[in-house]
Amino acid sequence: MRSLVSRLSGHQLFWPVLALVALLLINVIATPTFFEVRLQDGHLYGNLVDILRNGAPILLVALGMTLVIATRGIDLSVGAVAAIAGAVACVWIAGADEGSASKALVACVLALVICLVLGLWNGFLVSVLGIQPIIATLVLMTAGRGLAMLVTGGQITTINNPTFSKIGGGFVLTLPLAILIALFVFGLTAALTRRTALGMLVEAVGINPEASRLAGVRARTIIWTAYVFSAVCAGLAGLMIASNTNAADANAAGLWIELDAILAVVIGGTSLAGGRFSLAGTLVGALFLTTLAATIPNIGIPSETNYLFKAVVVILVCLLQSPKARAALAVRRRSGSPVVQAGAAA
């Protein structure tokens, strides 16, 4: 019978979760009040809440990215798509009757519909024309920023709409709305992939496209769906980012978010080679990245080295996950089974 420890460490999420916990511990050691959460005016505040809120856009983008990566693809255009969503929404809202709730709603719907169209474009290039995903989405990654600039006229469009501000800054039931939106989309994605057969078919296409085709799987539709889903998720993240700052910045909104999203997916244990994917892993990966971003100032790393620090940590996590590196480590460790509490093995 295997001990609890060895069963846990065999779990796919063991190492990412361990890394996240370690990071949180480092923070508590540096600042003992790190975990403190206080209730003020019916809203929760604190580092943990901030981490969750800052992680929301990354998680949204990473969820879409997970499905795309599972089909053996990659979507580099998500940052640009997020910028376009923010630009469209802000430009629509700006002007007469700027504060109206209905205008904010229409703006969001419009922005998401445009993102859906952009996703159709990406999916068309990849699944119909057969262009390599990295090239196909590179097109929109560069052109998309230009599109967003076109929409905003090259200006940073600031707006003042209380309804729109709620997406990124509002609270519901003491929690930031952004967290709830991200969790809702997480739940929705999980249901969409695991309650239906989408997840299994996505994995089949990712593992062996030709065998899937011969088994009658409509691989084209499946891949297309993944890119559309990814773009809509990116759009939602873009709205959240624009709402946070009450402005559309075509140049800076969602910059490099594609890299964070890809990283979150990989840290979560989904292989870039496609196939099996883990949404829970992506969640942990996204939380890890935002916790890392919060850790850097907290433990007093000078801000000019923060990219370097991030790179080192990411390399460490990837090493921890690599079976080869773990095997090399295990050889060096003393043999002998880990201590298990009585009853834990049952």
């Binding site: 309650r195 057969a197 299994m200 078919l201 089949a204 085709r213 088994a215």
Partner: protein, 527 residues
């Protein structure tokens, strides 16, 4: 010189000290024993066949010898010295070389470069190309392989590449050469060439381990054999003293009852069960793949397709399934004209196709047995209508039992199953869609005799129940045994179609060979 002349490989060889003796080898994976107490003795100057069904432990044994797996218990004695291999490099250093089924050389380097890769002769700090070609030429000549060492490897057929791989292997001063399924992609001429090289090596005192599914080839080349079953040793015998029947009995461990039963039951298919064909091809063809042909399939009938590799038999199957689209001719399904543009269309019309290329076009390795089985059904339901859990469990259980799939675990990963069991899962995938036409391209290739028998039996049974079956196989005996009607292909053309009335293998061979019999036959057993 010892009392033995090394160039004389004969029964006397057995009395010498073995070059390698593996004693009482045991290996277990996660508590499941893969080998328990197996011995293997190899003598200089012999070809030793390692026999057994899939999953008997042949590859585990080879991997133990080549240092890929570490043994749990037992000893490996080489030249009187005990060795512990913990990596393939150590095994190679001890003089053990392996050539695998897939050639793993670099096609865009020259033959000589491939042979001396990693140990090129040096001169002035660079590679001495002349010396390299000279050394390679010497080795090739010694083995009787007549090719230019300076030519690019990729320009040679696979068979020659395989010979180069062997030349490379023996060049490293191999005392033991392991050939794992070396003949599976070769035709008869090429097999003969390979055997010639093997005989040369044997004369030079190399011990050769030969693994093959083709019994005829084993009898043509091997001197002795070790037979495994379920990870245990069942016998070490001289090939000359053992009949094929005895060998098969030892390998499958029962009184051939399965094979006997097939001979009685199979071919008991009642032939067509309908007046109108379920499928009818009229002048169907595809440029550069297959000349146009006519074909009618009837319910309850097995059509066997015979022909050599590359004769168009696979192309025919792919056209009938829409895996490739036809660019001429028409297809009628139940008297209605249809155009099959994708496999999906074919599946919607109750046609199923199991590809000859199990790995690339069949299994989804990282999904479970259950998911693999239900893939086609799920695909045709669409992703919005998942198969309910209860129905899922019932179907998977039913087919695991009906087809005797092992391990009988719906959650086992497909990659961990043996070839025969993977094939059964793929069959289940199609049977679950309850097709009316079942197209099987080489369903029994590379799988053990037990599984082969079960699949043949299944095909006969399905036809009896009214399914139209297209059965393609390189093994003519199998085609003849199962088919009601025969279609013969050659040079991407259908050259004959006839009722199967007690045609003999040699009769069929004559048809295949036709008037232009210059073509190489595909397998040793044909020759």
């Amino acid at each position: 010189m010892t009392q033995m002349d090394l160039t004389q490989p004969d029964a006397a060889a057995v009395r010498r000290e073995p070059v390698i003796e593996m004693r009482d080898i045991s290996i277990a994976f996660g508590g499941v024993p893969a080998l328990s107490g197996v011995d293997l003795r190899l003598y200089a100057g012999e070809v030793h066949a390692l026999m057994g069904e899939n999953g008997a432990g042949k590859s585990t044994m080879i991997k133990a010898l080549t240092g890929v797996y570490t043994i749990d218990s037992g000893t490996i004695v080489i030249g009187g010295e005990e060795h512990q291999f913990s990596s393939p490099a150590e095994s190679q250093a001890a003089g053990i070389s392996t050539v695998y089924q897939e050639v793993n050389l670099v096609p865009n380097l020259t033959v000589a470069e491939n042979m001396l890769l990693g140990r090129e002769p040096r001169r002035w700090g660079g590679i001495d190309a002349k010396a390299m070609n000279r050394m390679a030429a010497a080795t090739l000549e010694r083995l009787g392989i007549n090719i230019d060492p300076a030519s690019e490897l990729g320009t040679h057929p696979i068979a020659v590449q395989q010979l180069v791989a062997i030349a490379r292997a023996v060049d490293v001063d191999a005392r033991v050469l392991i050939l794992d399924e070396p003949t599976s992609s070769l035709d008869a001429d090429e097999v003969e060439k390979l055997f010639a090289v093997m005989r040369t090596l044997r004369e030079h005192g190399t011990a050769i381990v030969f693994v093959s599914h083709f019994l005829d080839q084993v009898y043509a080349i091997a001197d002795r054999m070790t037979i495994l079953r379920n990870g245990t040793l069942v016998g070490e015998l001289m090939v000359a003293d053992t009949s094929q029947l005895e060998l098969v009995k030892l390998m499958i461990g029962r009184e051939l009852e399965v094979l006997d039963r097939i001979d009685r039951e199979v071919s008991a298919s009642d032939g067509r069960a309908s007046e109108t064909p379920v499928m009818k091809a009229l002048g169907l063809g595809r440029k550069r793949a297959l000349e146009s042909f006519d074909l009618e399939l009837y319910d309850g009938e097995v059509i066997g397709i015979a022909g050599l590799l590359g004769s168009g038999r696979t192309e025919l199957a792919r056209l009938l399934f829409g895996a490739d689209t036809a660019d001429e001719g028409e297809l009628e399904i139940r008297s209605t004209r249809r155009k099959l543009r994708t496999p999906r269309h074919a599946i919607d019309h109750k046609i199923a196709f199991s590809s000859e290329n199990r790995r690339a076009e069949g299994v989804i390795e990282d999904l479970t047995v259950g998911d693999n089985m239900l893939l086609a059904l799920q695909a045709s339901r669409g992703w919005l209508r998942p198969i309910p859990a209860s129905m899922r469990a019932r179907l998977v259980q039913e087919y695991i039992e009906a087809l005797d799939i092992r391990p009988a675990d719906p959650n086992a990963l497909m990659r961990n199953l043996s070839g025969g069991n993977q094939q059964k899962v793929l069959l289940a995938r199609w049977l679950i869609t309850s097709p009316e036409v079942l197209i099987l391209d080489e369903p029994t290739r590379g799988i053990d005799i037990g599984a082969k028998a079960q699949i043949q039996q299944l095909v006969a049974e399905l036809a009896r129940k009214g399914m139209a079956v297209v059965f393609i196989s390189a093994e003519l005996e199998e085609v003849l045994r199962l088919s009601d009607r025969l279609v013969v292909m050659r040079d991407r053309r259908m050259i004959d179609e006839r009722v199967n009335d007690d045609l003999s293998v040699s009769g069929l061979l004559e048809i295949i060979a036709g008037e232009a019999s210059a073509e190489p036959t595909e397998e040793e057993s044909f020759a």
